[in-house]
Amino acid sequence: MKKTGFVAYKNIIKRPVRSIALMILAAVLALSVFGGTVIVQALNNGFSSLENRLGADIMVVPYEATTKQELENIVLQGNTGYFYMNGEYLDELSELDGVGQISPQYYLASVKAGCCSIPVQIIGYDPETDFAITPWIKKSSSDEVGYLDVVVGNDLNAFVGDELSFFGVKVNVVAKLDKTGTSYDTQVFTTRETIQTLIEASLNKQLNEYANINSGNVISCILIDVDDTHNVDEVVNDINIHYKKLRAIRTTNMISGISDSLAAVSDIAQIITIVVWVVALGIMIVAFFMMTGERKKEFAVLRAMGASRAKLSTIVLTEGVSLSLIGGLVGVILGLIIIIPFSGYIETKMALPFLLPDAPMIIIAAVGAILLSTFAGALTAGFAAARISRIDTGMILRSGE
């Protein structure tokens, strides 16, 4: 049975230009909220993921690694690179006060891998002492990573069961990691024994800048977790004062630049969202007010037919809510179409860790954006409805406008 809403529905259908314009405005509102929320959330997730992946309070590297900025390029930007120091430093540092867990890492950059079109960064870890990479690998695979086994990052074009070749050594892919939104997605991980074999192979093929090193006794980086009784800065200072050829870096300092960039992006996203909302809401209010002016006679006729002030308001509100609800849906769908398929591109362009929220979070953001744009439509239509409910039917009909 047709009811008051029927009048609103027919008006939406028969005034397509106005209806589409209002829907577009609502879509822009929803898109700005949904897109902004998902992007900022993805950046936050990426940052958290990066913090977790670093997994240590302190990273100790050869001094030259920091002067050439290789460390940050490898850890944060996903570039390839490697540097080495004597493995004996590991034993020495493990004796220092305040050092809780300690574990080495080994870096190697492949020249060309079967799995990748670009050179890939290989990171080795010691399964017996590692506390940074192993927990993360165990999330993706419960299998042990054996000799000549590798685990690949999520973005690499290699899958479990594939065989890859690095410097003529064939290795097996035994696990593919979950997406992290960080540089780790494009890296390959393996155990100490395997990477030592790979380093030796790179030296034999004269594809390693360090020609005169003992592959069995070099490490690239030492990860340290400070025990609860000591301050991280104390341990950092201790190492930097006593080991001139090394550089201890507090990991939180290393990612402070990213944190600053993230805050800036969040601020910009918020400002853009606010500007979009102010402009779009303003246009919607003007559009609804113009609509009420144009349709004064129509509303007066409806009053003469017995429509109460509440019914007139219902018609206007139904139009506003329906259009903004549909517009909100369109905006969210557009957001999904733009953000999800192009998240890799966004990540590259922003040069920041980017990890899309999981499905429930995206659904919450979508529903929230639709509800907000619908509320905005209801609010602007509400102003118009309040104006209409005050129309002087007698005056309008008397003047024959």
Partner: protein, 222 residues
């Protein structure tokens, strides 16, 4: 038998642009309509005819006085109640074009029912037959001539089978042929028991009327 009675009604408007702030559109008057009669109020434009009719039809509250439908003082009702009363008991043909442009002819005619969640398509078809616009059932208002639009407006005013019908300048922009059609239709409606009040400046309306009033400068006279 429902008599419609106006007791000592008066309508004043606040007018900022003129010298005197208060303008009396209708001076204090009494007015009565008996059931099944066609009453015509004539007069020059701006004389207060439409204002009087709007007060009588429940869409313009008088500054003073009462409008009684039988024993019911319609302006003592709240907006929701009065609106529903208008919908059920009063038909109204506004002056000028009054079609809802987004609705087809049949939807326009059924609109008073649709507003209250009811639907009497057979009744609408019957009215279209009666006013010779059956072939325009699904046409949109912009496709109709002035005479067709006016007949549609009358059909719409009758869909609820009202006890009273108000028509404001129902032949205002019509040619002679359509004017006669509309006058004859209103006469027939009155003959069928509906109380009809027509406001017009057409002299020809007199021959269809049971009672004629004149309204000039807010003064009502026989």
């Amino acid at each position: 038998m429902m008599q419609i009675r106006a007791e000592q009604i008066k309508k004043e408007f606040y007018r900022k642009s003129k010298g005197t702030n208060i303008f009396a559109a209708v001076n204090t008057c009494d007015f009565t309509m008996e059931e099944g009669t066609l009453t015509v109020i004539k007069g020059r434009s701006g004389g207060g005819k439409s204002t009087l009719m709007n007060m009588l039809s429940g869409i313009l509250q008088p500054t003073e006085g009462k409008i009684l439908y039988g024993d019911v003082d319609i302006y003592s009702m709240k907006d929701k109640e009065l609106s529903e009363y208008r919908n059920r008991h009063i038909g109204y043909v506004p002056q000028g074009k009054s079609a809802i442009v987004s609705l087809s002819v049949i939807e326009n005619i059924m609109l008073p029912e649709i507003l209250y969640g009811e639907s009497n398509e057979d009744g609408a078809v019957e009215l279209m037959d009666r006013f010779g616009i059956t072939h325009l059932r699904d046409a949109m208002p912009e496709e109709l001539s002035g005479g067709e639009l006016r007949r549609m407006a009358i059909a719409r005013a009758l869909i609820r089978k009202p006890e009273v019908l108000f028509a404001d300048e129902p032949t205002g922009d019509l040619d002679d042929e359509n004017t006669v059609i509309v006058f004859e239709a209103l006469r027939e409606i009155a003959n069928n028991g509906t109380t009809v009040l027509m406001v017009t400046h057409e002299n020809d309306a007199e021959k269809y009327a049971d009672k004629i009033y004149r309204m000039d400068a807010g003064e009502l006279s026989d």
